[in-house]
Symmetry: D2
Subunit: 342 residues, 4 copies
């Protein structure tokens, strides 16, 4: 941490700052420039209230030299992390993992048909919501445990793993019993009690980016899980909120190379929620793979027009098959392999 | 709901749409314009998957005529709601309620000194965090139950009410035992299990706006509480996320007149979190009162430079006293009365 | 400027950076911390390509200690600037200046009626668009020179000054002939050839904030005018673009105290364009005055329902009169005087 | 256009609205629903002040059925437009066009070396700024006419076309003399006098998206050029402003499929300005091609560390060569051909 003093800071002000830092048990290293005095701070910054220092008289700016997250940073862990999901999938290595399925589990017929398509197209994980977070209390809220059972059964028949959302601490046990990868939705990215509880679970976590979360905040939320002892966090970009309203959100594809630079954690992209309209999903899925994402999560539905939830953004089976074929070649272009080995 | 068909929609497409609507148990009312056919839909829109309809072939646009929230809307409840908090405060009527106190409860001395100032300046509620949501797992997390007891004791001595945050379902009972007004933080605005549980509590709820929540989403979150039977919801604007970084957030003062137009619920403003810097708090608090807010929530601290949390945005006692005096006059200008009657 | 090296930066990398800085004619001041080496840079930073330095190997961060604008900064000019507009108005001192009038000049009758109301309510400047920037080429584009003449005549009869927009270099001479204050619209805030030309004009400039301009960029645009020799720049906040769509823009009232802190230039607020709806204009105008703005610019119209441009955001005469009365008291509360002395 | 009346609108209010519409020369078509009366409006909407209608008493909402742009819309022109640039390039068909070169033209040696690389890698256009829009008046402002001559000469030697920015009406003649494609920068996207003048030029225009422009506003700016008689407009996505600051802007890749849906105009992507950091440029260029962009514009520099402008975002020649090879395969995957035929 570096503290930049104002040009007109007095000696008394500078001394007061230095004393406050030493009281917190940190060391100071002073350097007097022509215009500004600079105070370097050495030690554990969590022992100091940085914001309070920044308001002391005579202080112009406080500059962070280290990142506020540690376990999630690439500095701490230079190699890419590879997260095992279920029996077979490794997310974050050479593979590009494909997760697909309906937005919500509706009934056995629908989830069986979806699972069949997911498997035959070479994807590795079956997705589907059993507990649904809905903006309106009047919207369809999901099948609950019954949905989890249908998902598990359909996946097991075809050698697929299961990813589904967990919305609250109460649901963790049930979801962990049936799913291989536990998803934290965008609205819960800063639900710290939930993150802390998931840090104590023995299953990997898929952490979606909050609708207006910076990449730094997202990594700090991952840190909540990592510090509790669960090392298996996969990040999922799903669109951020901007002024543009031609798409439901603005899918921030650049989060992929940025996360790869700042962190060792795998990152996948969910284009379906990012754009919200079927016709824009496939181009964005291709873009995600081309940008180097470790996976994509795509909504498909045997009959999108009749879906109970988010039907308009679900691909038909034909569209999904074509997308898989194209993404396979794009992945190869950058030295990766998409989907299940056949 | 109005469905606008494409200029080139076929008769078969239009019929398919009408049939889908009728299957959901709603009525249709068709009107053929020169360019576009328009289908009016009559009935309970929650029975229909609107997004799915909007993706049917031949459909150009689906226009909502009614709002997605009902109990929170002014159409449903034309008179301003007045919410009773504790023994004495009425939020939402002619009064402009002032809530003040430190960001976090740190120790008895601090909270007693703060409460003394809050009472003597004529404010009605004592605020202070006992459970703190922090972006970093390494930051100070609050005193918990001990903090709640200190708050209650300091408030009771001086005839103040207490407002404090509840972060999870597990904490509700404890917080409801000690506080008069239960605050839902910005990060939990879309934590639906929490909102549902708070809808069953017999205390008023202070619902902060999410960092990137639209006003409509905010009202829909209020609806979650209202539909469970708790009619006492107070909204709190605390800044939204924009590209501007000279302030921590952009305090959206215009949310005050917009909420007054769309809803009957009271709305207060928290300028401290909105701007994040002490020197900008007082001007924004004055602006909130001038714009017609039903209250303000301001952070104060007996010694801001030594605060454990958010010190830099806390007002000193002198600054707070001056602010109260000015806001009292501004409130009078628009026919209202700020702070406790003396 | 401070350069923070990476923890693992080599001596050769650090030397390369120091050499590049010295080649640009600046001095370096090195300081080796426990983890990071820090290089202080002394001299005129415009001689160095900062972005290029920031990409050199071994560099973690480059921190600006000084602001990128100079003439506009309060450091350079600690006293508030007071800008004379026309014969009588002083913007930026104790006065709170009111500018009012229709969005566009439509005809003599309309502008005479408006000017009459502006004067009788005690406002100082008459506003009205003669050249209109319109998003659509099919919208009403303004009366041009004829409109300028009508404005001037109506203002002169009543001792008012005139403010109106200039959209291109070609229009400067004509507008400067008739107006006392030349407005640069939000869309032109970064039209550098126009700003440079206005820096050579002998009239004050009203510089509106760009729709997505940061406060720093806004001050840098002011710097373009100031460096050319025109010291009379007044800033005008008019709303920024955010995800919220209940209002046309989000009026950033906090820009008022922030600008007061960073700069000596006067700042006024235009609530009409900020919110875009008549019913929200008065609360936001009051908020602006309460926050310490040096003036407000409000659209009024003798018959808003028949206005050719932006009618829905124009106040009626009655609404304007009530607003003036309330703002006068609010201004007094913070030691200022609004409108013409009577 | 559809006007939705309030549930409680009176007959007099509804009649007043209908009369206002008829006075403007349009037809009305009334339809009384169970809750709301709906008024369809038929005719040229530019004859009506829509905003004024929306504020009339008894009106709840005004819904646009047609887009505010016409010539730019795909409804008006269903086939993809193909724009000829210079002698050889066709932008918008099966080809994916590559434009590359330094941010600013600095000297003959630099531009010759750049042009050599552009040509040998198979790109079609040489880019380079001669007139530079800079946020700070103290930054490097470009070589002007001399730069244009260097660009033309270097391009002609190698069979390349030239694209460069024009910042003001005064510069149009000079730029049009030397360049094949005239670029309008993001800051000028709503400089209507400039757009109008460019609509009268006999050269194609590259219209960059404004930093905070919606896609609809962008197409309306294209409309300004098209209505003046110049049909050759190419759109260029270059990043929008959001709260995220890990990248300079947020490159909105989804603008590619959205524009393809709404308009017939070609769209290219500039990843260099979008991300602002060299290490993120190549992944985003690949993403743009995968999403279906008609071209990419990439900054390259023989020696990025010594560039006078935007060096940190320029690719080295090696990086550019690798990028071209990868993008060529990605383009093939979706049935297109990138770069010059060899």
């Amino acid at each position: 941490m570096i503290i930049v003093c104002e040009a007109k800071a007095t000696e008394a002000q500078i001394n007061a700052v230095q004393q406050k830092i030493r009281e917190a048990g940190l060391d100071v290293h002073r350097s007097d420039g022509v215009e500004h005095t600079i105070i370097g701070v050495v030690g554990d910054r969590n022992r100091l209230d940085i914001a309070a220092v920044s308001m002391m008289p005579g202080i112009r700016d406080v500059v962070m030299v280290s990142t506020p997250y540690k376990l999630a940073s690439r500095e701490f862990h230079p190699e890419d992390s590879i997260v095992r999901v279920g029996e077979i999938s490794l997310v974050g290595g050479r593979e590009v993992t494909v997760m697909a399925g309906p937005c919500a589990v509706e009934n056995e017929e629908q989830i069986e048909a979806s699972a069949e398509m997911v498997a035959s197209a070479g994807a590795q994980l079956l997705r589907g919501g059993a507990f649904k977070p809905r903006s309106s209390p009047y919207s369809y809220q999901g099948l609950g445990i019954e949905g989890l059972k249908l998902l598990r059964k359909a996946a097991d028949k075809r050698g697929l793993s299961v990813v589904t959302e967990v919305m609250s601490i109460e649901q963790i046990d049930a979801v962990a019993q049936y799913a291989d990868l536990l998803q934290v939705g965008a609205r819960n990215m800063q639900n710290y009690p939930l993150l802390t509880a998931l840090g104590q679970v023995n299953k990997p976590i898929l952490l979606k980016r909050g609708m207006s979360a910076t990449i730094q905040e997202w990594l700090m939320s991952a840190e909540y899980i990592l510090t509790e002892g669960n090392p298996d966090v996969i990040l999922c970009e799903r669109g951020i909120r901007t002024f543009e309203n031609a798409t439901r959100n603005t899918l921030d594809i650049s989060a992929v190379p940025v996360i790869k630079h700042l962190s060792h954690l795998p990152i996948i992209v969910d284009p379906s929620h990012g754009v919200g309209t079927r016709r824009f999903v496939a181009p964005m899925a291709r873009a995600a793979v081309a940008a180097g994402a470790d996976g994509i999560m795509v909504e498909i539905h045997p009959n999108p027009d009749k879906a109970l939830s988010d039907g308009p953004q679900s691909l038909t089976f034909e569209e999904f098959g074509l997308l898989m074929n194209r993404c396979r070649i794009i992945a190869t272009t950058i030295g990766r392999r998409l989907g299940k080995a056949k």
